[in-house]
Symmetry: C2
C-alpha cells in the first residue's frame, strides 16, 4: 500500500493539502476520521477520545508517576486509547492507499515506508490563514493567534521528543518539506501528487 | 526574471538537480561558471578565485583583524573578489531566467525573489553518491568521505552564520526541501520543474 503522511505546522494548510491530495490520487483520507472510528470501537465519546489523544493530556502522564495515582482509571483509559490508535493506524495502512494527516502516523507507521511530507509556512502567513478559516466565535487577535499556533506546535514537538524519540519538524525526518507561504495550494497539489507517485515508483523499498 | 537557487548538502545530488532543472526549463545554468567569469573579468587565475571564494579562506578573515595585516594585499583581493561575485550574481539574475547552485545566491539575490530549494539526504546515501562519482585519485574510505562531507557542510553553515546572518539548511529559509535519499533524481526533476513554474506563476511578488 502507498501511505502518505502529512505532518504540518498549525495554520500552514497541511490539512487542505492532505484532503486534495487524497482526492486527486483516489486514496482514502484520514484525519478526524481516526478519533471517530476509535470512539466507535471503544464505545466512547468522540470528544473524550480526541481529548485523550491530545498531546497536552498525554504530556501530563510522566507527572503522575511516583504519585498516588488518584485517577489511575482515567490514565488506563488514555493508554488504552493510545494502543487502539496504533492498532487502528496499522489496520488502515494495510487496507488501502491512504493519506493520513498528523497523529504521528509518520513515526507509528514507519515499517510501512510511508512517503512523509512536512508542511510549514511563515508565522505571518499562518496567522492570516487561521483568521480566514476561524469560526466566528473564535475571534482571536493576531497576537492571540500567534500564541495559539506556537502552543500547538510546541506540543507536537514535545510529544514527539518524549514519546517517539524523534524531532518533529526536522527536515531529515521527512522526504519533502513544503513551504506554503504565499503559495496557491490548489495549484501545487497536483504536482505534489506527481511527486509522491514518482517516489512510490522509485524509492519505496519492497 | 525567474531565478532558482539550489542550496545543497555535499553529496546530495543538488548539482545534478540544478543542471537537469535548467535543461528542462531552458534556463541558464550557473555553477563553476561563476568563478570562471569572475576570474576572466579580474584577470586572475580561476583556481585562485575559487579558493578565495571558498568559505574556509573567508572564515579566517576575522582572525586577521587587530593584527599587523602582514598579508593585507591578499585580503584586499579576497574582498574584491567577493564584491565582484555579488555584482556578477546580480547581473546574471537580471539577464535571463537561471538556475544557480550554491554561492549563497539565495541570500545575495533575495531582492530578486528567487525560488529557493534545499537538497539534502541521509549520510549513508551521500557517502555512496560521493564514492560513485569520485575521481580515481580521490580514493577515500567511507569514514574519510563522511568526515569530508561534514567539514564542507559545516563550513557552509558557519559561512552563512557569520557573513549572511542566516541559518543554512534551516527549512524556513527555503521554499522547498527535497530529500534525495534513495530517490531517482532523473525521475523527479521534471516534477520539480513543474513545481517551480507553479511557484513563479502564483507566489512570486511583482
Amino acid at each position: 500500500m502507498n501511505i502518505i503522511t502529512i505532518s504540518r505546522e498549525f495554520g500552514s494548510g497541511g490539512r487542505e493539502i492532505g484532503r486534495r491530495l487524497a482526492d486527486i490520487l483516489g486514496y482514502t483520507y484520514y484525519d478526524r476520521e481516526i478519533e471517530i472510528s476509535i470512539a466507535e470501537r471503544m464505545n466512547m465519546d468522540v470528544d473524550y477520545v480526541a481529548h485523550a489523544m491530545d498531546q497536552e493530556m498525554l504530556m501530563n502522564i510522566p507527572l503522575h508517576f511516583g504519585r498516588t495515582f488518584g485517577d489511575s482509571y482515567a490514565m488506563k483509559q488514555q493508554v488504552d486509547i493510545l494502543v487502539e490508535k496504533q492498532r487502528f493506524l496499522k489496520e488502515i495502512a494495510s487496507a488501502s492507499h491512504c493519506v493520513i494527516v498528523g497523529r504521528a502516523a509518520d513515526v507509528i507507521l514507519s515499517e510501512f515506508h510511508p512517503f512523509k511530507m512536512f508542511i510549514y509556512a511563515d508565522m505571518e502567513h499562518k496567522i492570516k490563514r487561521c483568521q480566514k478559516y476561524a469560526k466566528e466565535e473564535e475571534n482571536l487577535s493576531p497576537r492571540e493567534m500567534k500564541k495559539m499556533i506556537r502552543k500547538v506546535d510546541s506540543r507536537r514537538f514535545q510529544y514527539h521528543r518524549m514519546f517517539l524519540n524523534t524531532d518533529w519538524g526536522d527536515k531529515n525526518q521527512y522526504h519533502l518539506c513544503v513551504n506554503t507561504t504565499g503559495v496557491n495550494i490548489k495549484s501545487i497539489v497536483p504536482i505534489l501528487a506527481d511527486y509522491s507517485s514518482a517516489w512510490f515508483r522509485n524509492s519505496k523499498p519492497e
